[in-house]
Structure formats: structure tokens, C-alpha cells
Symmetry: C2
Subunit: 323 residues, 2 copies
């Protein structure tokens, strides 16, 4: 962190996004790439991605003639969820009931797509720095015919821990962090947010329910309200850290779904990962390059330092304080 | 690839870098952060990184009280290698003998640091987009007291393949690609360059010797000359792709070194990875975010399409054609 920085500085995010832009395909009433017209929705809005990376009928690559050249069809569907009819808000600037409505769509889309697909990945790319190409507040849902790499790794680790210690890894982990306190960012009646011991991004966090919950649809109404409230607090702290609309990738991981949903997945604990790229300021990011790409992650500040900084930040958004 | 792109556009790289800047700590004769003055070197120049991420005397974190909270000291040294006395050249604009001199330093620094450390990671972050904070042509060397994560994964895969098939994974892989041809980019008497079957970055390549070579110091003089020549061709193609000084992270992987160097590492084959971020143009990159960070890599074009594009590009640098 003491190195002088003469490297790349990111462009500042647009400060003014129009509330409604009839040419933005995510806005109420807009015409999308496939010719469909969006309803004049006034809450959340779920629709099929017009440029899906996964398709239900992807062709089979056929048999392979060599162990080093193995391929399989990746089938699935891709959806988009708009969080709000306005383009100029973000989750931390939405009300708790509005965020709660997003939580409900997350739960219902997991239920709907999870009936058919073994993995339903909900994720939000926020900010141009994170490859987001549309400022309207939204996330994506990609449901797949297979367990993706990272889901497989979490499955292996959680299964191994459970078989050795007879309890879910993330239940014991959350309990330990509540005792140790040094990596905690926020706690509420039903949730905790911490900078994980294994964090690689400077201000990475993990959002965990206190109760053993395997999947989003299992959350009770009280847990959903409390989730909306702790998310608003976390995202407000994030925005306050560098007084910018904080970019990140976030997403949910829960027990696999699909035809095997009824098997024993008690080793799974639902959680969300937040991976924000910023390191020093609103325009200087952490580059995961060189040593990180070829060898191993290395941190520029410790998880405990990051947690301490986040804990100290106000829970009122800087934008509202300025007004 | 059909999606409209309204997202982040990267700043264009500086087109004019002064050949010599007395305030640039990488230049001949400049004073570095630690007060040392660089010699007026006229070839390559190897020195200790003034801001090392790894240090030989890192303290031991002490015993852990819990299986989920395990930590170990990461010890090592970090060095920098300047490729050339001038700041306004890059490898593809250097002569083959000048590049050959870089290959020789790579080999000798591997030998020198590998006497003590089990892993010597040579890597180059090229371009501001890859977090490079100094335009002077250079790379880094981080030697560590441990096998980093990715080295461990390559060790496991290569060892398992060898024990099952009785030959090194990457020897058989290279042979297969020479037969299949569709992913080849360049071949020479001693080397091949291909877009690997498993590539995640759009124009990722793998550089492999044809002979079974475990580590850089084992390369013969003829193999080193040929390496310099094929690197110049590859990097010229890269620059020609979008007519820009092509950003990338590259680095070498070879058999582990240190006190265990004498063990049987015949399952290892030396290779270099090139990971370039650009996707559509000199200013529109591939974002490894969202689904990639939370689930699995997904490609925007196939490895075969990428190889075909790279094959078709001229081996004369666009900059020299313009002059
Ligand atoms: O060592 P540099 O050039 O200051 O820093 C660069 O390379 C390092 C090693 O890959 C990374 O950890 C940094 O994020 C990157 O900015
Ligand atoms: O789907 P989008 O927003 O067009 O695209 C973004 O998210 C995708 C899924 O994480 C990534 O593969 C793309 O690189 C990124 O630009």
C-alpha cells in the first residue's frame, strides 16, 4: 500500500443518469432488442435476457476421441431482474420495502428455475468498472444444466467439512467470527456481514444468515425484511467508503436444486459474496494480474484492516447527507 | 459478441513515452526509492524490488486454535528485470538478440533464486490496463518459500496424468495440437504457440517447447534464440490485432526448485501463459466479473476463432509498416 501509484486511473462514474430513458431497454415502456415492449412496471421486473449466454437447446458436442479434449453441452436460461422503475437509483438508495421486493424475486426465481436446473446463479455486476453496460439497477440470473466450477468447489469443501466435523462449515465459521469479532462488519437479528479470513479483494465481504438456511426460498418473512435492511446498511457503507457509487460483483450461493434437490444438502449454508474492485480511492482499483493470475492472490491490506474501515463508516448515505 | 456495448471504454494508452526520463526509477542512471542509483546499463538490468510483497524474514503467525483459521508465513524475495535501457520500446519492437538477452536473465535468475526457493515466478504485467504502473519495459520475479496455489494445481494435474498415462500431460497435449492444427498460432523448430482448449481469456495463448524441458535454465542456446524469435512474432501479432501496444499478463511455469529440485519432476513441462484482457478493440476489454467470479468462465469467442484470427495477422509490426 506504500507504493507510489502512477498506473491506470478509472474514469469517474457518470454522476447524472436520467431517471427515465425511453431508449434504455431496461426502462418501463421501452422496446427491447427482440421487439418486445416492457410493461410500465412500478416495482421489480423479471424478463428473459435478449442476449443469453446459455440456451436450453445448446447442441451436444459429440463424443471425444481423447482424454485431454473433453467437452459437454452447457444448457440453461438467462434472465434479467430490474430492481426499480427508475434508472437513477441503486440498492442503497432504495427503501427497505423496495429492497425486500427484490429479495422476494430472488427467492421466487430460484424456486421457478430450480425446479428444472441444478444451479441457479443470481448475480449483480454493478458499475462500468465491473463490466456493467447499463446503469439501470438490475441483476442477472443464469440457470444451468450443470454445477459450475465454483459451485463444485464449494460443494466439495462443505461436504468434506460436514463429514469430518458433523456440522456445516459456514455455520461454524459464522459462529467463530461472532466470537472473534475482528472481521465483523455488521450484525443483525438474522444476518451477519464479515470480511472473510480468506478474502482476496480488498473490501470483499460475506453475507450469512445466522440460522441454518440452504436456499433463498427458505427464508422467513422476518429474515427477508432483515436481509433488506442489512443489505441497505452494507451498501451504504460501501458507497461511503470512497464517496462513490461503489462498484462490485455480488451473487448468491445456496444448495443445488433441480432433480436432486431432495437429496441431503445439509452441509450447505446459503450465503452471498461481494467482490468489489476498489483499493485506494473511487478511481484506483486493485488489479488481479501478474502474480495473482499465475501464482496466488496477495492482499494489499489485511481482512481485519478492511473490516475495521467498513465498521467505522456511517450508515447514512453520503448522498443524502449532502442534500 | 452480438451484444451492443455501452459499457466501459478503457483510456487509450499513452502513445509517446520519452526514451529516457531521469525521474523514472527504472531508467539507467535514475535514483530509486531506496536511494540507490541505477547503473547506466545498456542491456538488461536486474535489481531488488523496492516495494517487495514477499520478504525473507516475514514473521511466523504462530499456532492456530481452529481448523478454519490456518495461516502460515509467506517468505520470499521480489526482483525487477528491465528488458532494455529505453522506455519507449516493448519486446516486439526489440531485436531478436535483445530478446534473447532477456531469456538468458530469466534462466539465470531462476537458477539463482531456485537454489533457495521452491518456486520462482517470473511474470510481466504489460500495459496500464493490467495494473502496470511504469511504462518502462520490465518484468518481475517473485520467489517464494511455498508452492503458490496455481503451481500446486498444475503439480497435481501433471502428476496425476503422468501416473495414469506414463508421459507428461503437456508433451501429449502439444503433440495433439500439432495434429489437430485448429488452435495453433505459431510453430518453429523448437517451440509452439496455441490458444489452449481450456482458454478463458479471448486471446489467451500457451507457449510450449517441443522437447521435454522442465525449467528455463535447461534450454539450449538454439532453443533460446528460437524462443526470442517466436516471442517477437507472437507479440507482433498481438500488437497488430487491434493496432495497439497489446496489454497482457504473461509468466513462466516450470518444475519446482529449491531443496527438492533433485526429486523426480519429469511430469512437468516448461510453459508460458499469456493472458491478454482485450476482447473487441484496443479499448473494449473482456470483463471477468459476475458469472465468471461466482460460477464459471464463459467465452465470448471460441479458442478456434481466436487462433484463426491470430494466425491470419502479419508478422511485421504495424508501427514499422506505418513509418
Ligand atoms: O508490482 P506492481 O507493478 O506495483 O503491481 C502490480 O502487480 C502486482 C503483482 O502481480 C499486483 O499485485 C498489483 O495489484 C499490480 O498493480
Ligand atoms: O451480461 P453483460 O452485462 O452484458 O456482461 C457482463 O456480465 C457477464 C456475466 O458475468 C460477463 O461475461 C461479461 O464479460 C460482462 O461484461
Amino acid at each position: 500500500m506504500k507504493r507510489p501509484w502512477q498506473g491506470q486511473v478509472e474514469p469517474s462514474p457518470l454522476t447524472t443518469v436520467p431517471r427515465h430513458d425511453p431508449h434504455n431497454p431496461l426502462c418501463p415502456g421501452a422496446t427491447r432488442a427482440n421487439g418486445e415492449v416492457n410493461p410500465y412496471y412500478d416495482g421489480t421486473f423479471l424478463f428473459d435476457n435478449d442476449f443469453p449466454a446459455l440456451q436450453p437447446d445448446a447442441p451436444n458436442p459429440g463424443p471425444s476421441d481423447h482424454p485431454l479434449f473433453q467437452a459437454e453441452a452447457a444448457r440453461g436460461v438467462c434472465k434479467v431482474i430490474c430492481f426499480h422503475p427508475w434508472s437513477d437509483v441503486t440498492l442503497p438508495l432504495m427503501s427497505v420495502p423496495e429492497i425486500r421486493a427484490v429479495v422476494d424475486v430472488w427467492a421466487s426465481v430460484t424456486e421457478e428455475l430450480g425446479a428444472q436446473y441444478p444451479w441457479v446463479q443470481i448475480f449483480e455486476n454493478k458499475g462500468a468498472m465491473m463490466g456493467c453496460s447499463n446503469p439501470h439497477p438490475h441483476c442477472q440470473v443464469w440457470a444451468s444444466s450443470f454445477l459450475p466450477d465454483i459451485a463444485q468447489r464449494e460443494e466439495r469443501s462443505q461436504r468434506a467439512y460436514q463429514s469430518q466435523h458433523r456440522e456445516p462449515l459456514l455455520m461454524e465459521y459464522g459462529r467463530q467470527e461472532l466470537i472473534r469479532k475482528e472481521r465483523l462488519v455488521l450484525t443483525s437479528e438474522h444476518w451477519l456481514v464479515l470480511v472473510p479470513f480468506w478474502a482476496v479483494w480488498p473490501f470483499q465481504t460475506l453475507l450469512l444468515p445466522r440460522r441454518h438456511v440452504r436456499r433463498l426460498p427458505e427464508l422467513t418473512p422476518a429474515e427477508r425484511d432483515d436481509l433488506a435492511s442489512i443489505m441497505k446498511k452494507l451498501l451504504t457503507k460501501y458507497d461511503n467508503l470512497f464517496e462513490t457509487s461503489f462498484p462490485y460483483t455480488m451473487g448468491w450461493h445456496g444448495a443445488p436444486t433441480g432433480s436432486e434437490a431432495g437429496a441431503n444438502w445439509d452441509h450447505w449454508q446459503l450465503h452471498a459474496h461481494y467482490y468489489p474492485p476498489l483499493l485506494r480511492s473511487a478511481t484506483v482499483r486493485k488489479f488481479m494480474v501478474g502474480y495473482e493470475m499465475l501464482a496466488q492472490a496477495q492482499r494489499d491490506l489485511t481482512p481485519e484492516q478492511a473490516a475495521e474501515k467498513l465498521r467505522a463508516l456511517p450508515e447514512v448515505h453520503y448522498y443524502l447527507r449532502q442534500k
